[in-house]
């Protein structure tokens, strides 16, 4: 009787253990299926934060909640052919605008050159000086409208970048946490928030005053070279770009080292928990590790989609503004050289200085983009704790 009872109990325990194993493997399968089907919460808000006028450049399926579709769309976006065709499309529009600007500036320089030759016949220095002042002011007035347009464009770009990254931060935190990197999630999202604050407060609020100051100095230097303002403007530009570069380097280094340290700590915690679970749970303790590895591969896949997709979105957002600034800078520098050839030295100096000011804007735009791209790359490369 006693033997029959104990046999029954053993069968019951065995049955219970087998059921438990089945439950674990079912949940692992479910989590794999879930990882294939669902992007994390906040992903759709992230893609919606991308500006509508540039959304036509995105491949189909980029905003899909299905991770496989989103993964394929990200792969399609990051193909060299896709990126080059987007750059080609943007250049088509940009080169046309740059050519029109070039023709306009060359026209003004030709007129200034002809007038300069005629001005030589005016014996009176005061009247000749007044004519020169008028022609320089006319060229400056023709250019400054374009400056204002580009400054507005840079400010708009920084605003859009901040909106996009602001939507990215909660998603990256969620994915980090999914992989067991809880400490990394809190430290990483905090650092990304600092990046965002730097972009919003430092870059967006300082680029316009600095560029405005440099433009004013360029005009003063052209109209009154004896004041010697060229050195002041050059020093301000160099100091500004150096400070920005330094701050961004420090922030990226901080994020990289923080992520490495916290990921290592999270890995240690996760491994300890796995070992305890494997030892404490009889029979099925080993399958806990297999389940967690499955989860980790799913999380790695999500991280790759989100990280690379985010990098693609930032590139798409940056390219139109960056190409426009680069082409305008090239036009200004070319026209500065042409002005020297035509004998319009003052106008050439003005165009040259305005061209270097565009270099300042290019630095702000590219540094902001690179900072976030590096942050996303660190996110992709960070180790999943439960792996």
């Amino acid at each position: 009787m006693r033997l029959r009872r104990s046999k029954g109990i053993y069968i019951l325990i065995l049955f219970f253990v087998l059921m438990l194993a089945r439950v674990f493997s079912l949940s692992a399968l479910a989590s794999t299926e879930r990882n294939q089907e669902d992007m994390p919460k906040g992903f759709s808000e992230w893609v919606e934060a991308f500006p509508e006028d540039l959304a036509q450049l995105l491949p189909e399926g980029m905003d899909s909640q299905n991770s496989e579709e989103a993964g394929e769309a990200t792969l399609e976006l990051m193909r060299p052919e896709t990126l080059l065709s987007i750059i080609g499309e943007l250049l088509n529009v940009g080169v046309g605008d740059a050519f029109r600007l070039f023709v306009k500036l060359v026209g003004l320089l030709l007129i200034a050159s002809v007038f300069g030759a005629l001005r030589a016949s005016i014996s009176s220095d005061t009247v000749s000086g007044a004519v020169h002042f008028c022609t320089t002011l006319a060229i400056f007035a023709a250019i400054i409208g374009l400056q204002a347009e580009h400054l507005e464009r840079v400010a708009q770009y920084l605003e859009r970048l901040s909106a996009l990254v602001g939507a990215m931060i909660p998603v990256t935190g969620a994915v980090w946490a999914m992989g067991g990197n809880v400490t990394t999630a809190s430290a990483g999202t905090a650092t990304l928030s600092v990046f965002l604050t730097v972009c919003e407060s430092l870059c967006a609020k300082t680029v316009i005053p600095v560029c405005g100051f440099c433009t004013a100095m360029a005009l003063c230097n052209t109209l009154s070279p004896e004041l010697g303002m060229r050195g002041v403007a050059g020093a301000v530009k160099k100091t500004y770009t150096f400070l920005l570069g330094m701050i961004m380097t420090v922030l990226v280094a901080s994020l990289g080292s923080q992520t490495a340290l916290t990921a290592a700590a999270d890995s240690t915690t996760a491994r300890t928990a796995k070992v305890i679970a494997s030892a404490a749970i009889p029979v099925v303790g080993g399958s806990v590790g297999d389940t967690l590895r499955t989860v980790a591969s799913g999380v790695r896949y999500l991280k790759t989609i989100l990280g690379i997709g985010g990098i693609g979105l930032i590139l798409l957002l940056t390219l139109p503004t960056l190409l426009s600034l680069i082409l305008t800078r090239v036009v200004f520098l070319l026209c500065g050289g042409i002005a020297d050839l035509l004998g319009c030295e003052r106008e050439g100096r003005l165009l040259g200085e305005l061209g270097t000011m565009y270099g300042c804007m290019i630095a702000v735009v590219s540094m902001s983009a690179v900072m976030f791209i590096l942050a996303l790359w660190i996110f992709v490369k960070s180790v999943v704790a439960v792996a």
């Binding site: 029109r100 023709v103 306009k104 060359v106 026209g107 003004l108 030709l110 007129i111 200034a112 002809v114 007038f115 005629l118 001005r119 016949s121 005016i122 014996s123 009176s124 005061t126 009247v127 000749s128 007044a130 004519v131 002042f133 008028c134 022609t135 002011l137 006319a138 060229i139 400056f140 007035a141 023709a142 400054i144 409208g145 400056q147 204002a148 400054l151 507005e152 400010a155 609020k205 316009i208 005053p209 405005g212």
Partner: protein
Amino acid sequence: MSGELLKLCGVAVLCAMVGLLLAKWQREYSALVRVGGTILVGIALLGGLREGLDAILGLVGAEAVEPYADVMLRALGIALLTRLCGEICRECGAGSVAVGVELAGKISILVLCIPLIREILELANEILRMQET
């Protein structure tokens, strides 16, 4: 243009020669002839300048640069006119009048720059408003 230039040179030399001849007998008429010749040359010069400028504007696209080219042309026109008037006054022995004419020319050019300065200040205000938002 070269045909017209020959005519212009011919008129200028003729006026100078007649002025020289009249200087011996009728000094006042001599001055009038010289002033008349200067005015004729000045009008022909300004016409030729407008023609040349229209040709350049046609090449580079008038809409983009015309407002500014217009200001530059007026400034140059004022400067040349001032120069011519100043020289006429000096030839007639009125140096102080010549100085007054040049000063008036300079002030006119600066007044011509006022719309440009206004446009630049408006754009600067726009940039400042961008910064505030």
